[in-house]
Symmetry: C2
Subunit: 119 residues, 2 copies
């Protein structure tokens, strides 16, 4: 039962689109990630995902609209909804999602990250 | 599927120890609360709780030690562990916890808040 300092954890990695696990509770993971550029279109069959911006800003694209998210804002993407994060500049985010969640959902590719590191 | 601005939601209430719901996913609630003073000792039989400090600082007391939490830090309190938040000055926090969670856990009192408002 140790506290987690978000900035201290963020300082420990620099690669993009590669989430790290920083907490687990009730079958959910708390993850941190840095994003820059365009991700792949994907959805998660069984998992809702929360994206909270810690530093910077990015855009969540949906097939019919986009949502711009800045520091201190979060968005919940329900299961089954296709989405694609796009970050013009580097952004740091916190994710809250079931432990079963894979970053690329139903679109496995070379961007897929499994067996995530616990920081 | 609307984004949530944490500060905008925090500006909408001022009372202490009275969480508001600002999101729901995977059977979990995202809540915001403002704390000042001493809460009651309690535990939750079935729910782990995450406390993330958005503004200010507070201390989580356990029976055998205390953890001081400042802005940008979070702590996960596992189910069954007695705890008591104490805030010398006002603090704003974000909570992640199952929808079944009651703020005072097994210590129902006049501080218990049920049927929480969705902001």
């Amino acid at each position: 039962m140790e506290k987690v300092n978000l900035q201290e954890k963020l300082d420990r990695f620099q690669d993009y689109w590669h989430p790290r696990i920083v907490g687990e509770l009730n079958g959910q993971h708390v993850k941190l990630a840095k994003l820059k550029g365009e991700f792949v279109w994907h959805s998660h069959d069984e998992e809702d995902e929360l994206f909270l911006v810690l530093e910077g800003a990015f855009t969540m694209e949906f097939r019919d609209r986009t949502v711009h998210l800045a520091k201190g804002e979060f968005l919940i993407v329900p299961r089954g909804i296709e989405h694609r994060p796009v970050a013009e500049n580097e952004v740091s985010i916190l994710l809250f999602e079931p432990v079963s969640t894979v970053n690329t959902g139903n679109s496995e590719s070379n961007l897929t990250r499994k067996n995530l590191e616990h920081l």
